[in-house]
């Protein structure tokens, strides 16, 4: 089995993450931040350690700027629904995953907000920004945008978008589902007000983990209230981070696994990870581009402009059919629409979907070569 579906979740996880999860289950099984006994405090210390590492990786000014969530979708919903009010206008991109599109669309259907969709011009940031400028309104409150497409790998020019947002008095939420742990991110330097990410993709944590990194937590109303282990006699939810956004017991085992994932990234080096994955993606891109009957949808990937995510189709086959054939020969890819109708609409693949390969750190060139051979056989047999 060769796993090329890391955009869905990374697999395998580093052995250290597996070990950390086991250690969490056997040694750190208390509820962190709830009791005064030694195991509870020790467990809380481990959770805090993960918070520190994530704050450092994402350039957050303070450790308490990190709030753990169940996944990136949960993080995005907490931000969008906590921030947006009647009459607000929001701008999203034409590559958004349903984790942004659906809550935004739902709020729009309820009459709470209006939204516009920005066309991202691949390879032409100036044009993208020019189009963005044209979408601002006096009531534009938020730009909510993916850092990079989960289908086509195209990245958005977040720094420049952030600057434009500031000029127009708007906030910026970034969906880093595909970029956290791959591309450099820094909420302070990049002017990101709300950074949302999963723990289980390129941060190499277990599923059931995610985070919001924000120094603007005071702007968010809560949509989930409950026990926080702090100020328990008060009927109101704490108004300080991260407690404000962390009601109920956190996924302690997951967070301790995530902590080991962050150690792994630190030990390998973010740039090394990105380069390795993108080099392999380019090798596959080059091989596919030489094959008749293969349709590619983007230019050759470039560091800083593309993530290691590549969509393609084979003549005469839908994306799902291609992936089914690849599954028969041991390759794991995702076919279909990838929870991203806007992205497929943009690329003209609404009728057939696409096959998506998304590489991780544990993929290698031998796997890439074998993949290309299998594609060649499938085309030859069609």
């Amino acid at each position: 089995m060769i796993y090329f579906d890391n955009a869905a979740t990374t697999f395998p996880k580093p052995p250290s993450v597996v070990a950390a999860v086991q250690e969490a289950m056997t040694c750190y099984g208390a509820n962190p931040g709830r009791s005064g006994h030694k195991i509870s405090v020790q467990t809380a210390r481990r959770v805090y350690g993960c918070r520190e590492k994530l704050a450092a990786l994402m350039g957050a000014p303070d450790v308490e700027n990190v709030a753990f969530t169940l996944n990136c979708t949960h993080a995005i919903n907490l931000c969008l629904k906590g921030l947006l009010r009647d009459g607000d206008h929001v701008i999203i991109s034409d590559m958004e995953h349903n984790s942004i599109l659906r809550p935004i669309h739902t709020l729009s259907q309820r009459g709470v907000i209006d939204y516009d969709v920005l066309e991202i011009c691949e390879g032409d940031d100036e044009e993208t920004l020019r189009r963005l400028e044209g979408l601002f309104r006096p009531n534009t409150r938020l730009i909510a945008m993916t850092h990079g497409s989960n289908v086509f790998g195209i990245m958005t020019p977040i720094r420049a978008i952030s600057q434009l947002a500031r000029e127009h008095g708007a906030l910026l939420l970034v969906d880093a589902a595909q970029s956290a742990g791959v591309a450099p991110l820094n909420v302070t330097e990049m002017g990101i007000d709300f950074l949302c990410m999963p723990g289980h993709k390129s941060l190499y944590g277990p599923s059931g983990t995610g985070a919001i990194v924000t120094a603007r937590g005071e702007l968010l109303s809560t949509i989930v209230e409950g026990g926080t282990g702090s100020l328990s006699l008060e009927y109101s939810q704490p108004d300080f981070m991260p407690d404000k956004l962390e009601s109920g017991t956190v996924n302690t085992t997951g967070i301790l696994g995530l902590s080991a994932g962050l150690d792994f990234i630190q030990s390998v080096g973010l740039e090394n990870i990105y380069r390795h994955e993108l080099d392999l993606t380019c090798a596959i891109y080059d091989g596919l581009s030489r094959m008749p009957g293969v349709k590619l949808y983007t230019a050759r990937p470039v560091m800083g402009r593309n993530l290691p995510v590549l969509a393609f189709n084979l003549e005469g086959l839908s994306g799902e059919e291609t992936c089914a054939k690849l599954d028969e020969v041991g390759f794991c890819l995702r076919g279909g629409f990838h929870c991203s109708p806007l992205a497929h609409k943009k690329m003209g693949t609404l009728d057939c979907g696409a096959a998506r390969l998304s590489l991780g750190y544990f993929n290698d060139s031998k796997q890439a070569e074998r993949f290309l051979r299998e594609i060649s056989k499938i085309i030859g047999n069609s």
Binding site: Y48, E52, V63, T228, G229, L231
Partner: protein, 73 residues
């Protein structure tokens, strides 16, 4: 025995506060303050066991640690 007990809003502030104090040479540990339990509900405290407690508290305030109460022994 602790020279001062700093009651904070949350475990996160307790951990952050302890880190700050450690980096400046103060020794401390995190505990539940049983005596203050009824006053603030669930919460944690940082018990300062070495160094000038007044300076330690100043340091915590400078770093925006949310302090509910300081009890000196």
């Amino acid at each position: 025995m602790a020279q001062a007990t700093v009651i904070v809003s949350s475990i996160t502030y307790a951990m952050k506060g302890q880190r700050i104090l450690e980096s400046r040479g103060f020794r401390s540990y995190i505990d539940r303050d049983v005596k203050a339990y009824g006053k603030y509900g669930c919460g944690y405290c940082i018990r300062i066991t070495s160094g000038d407690p007044q300076r330690a508290v100043e340091l915590l305030r400078e770093h925006q640690i949310k302090i509910k109460e300081v009890v000196t022994n």
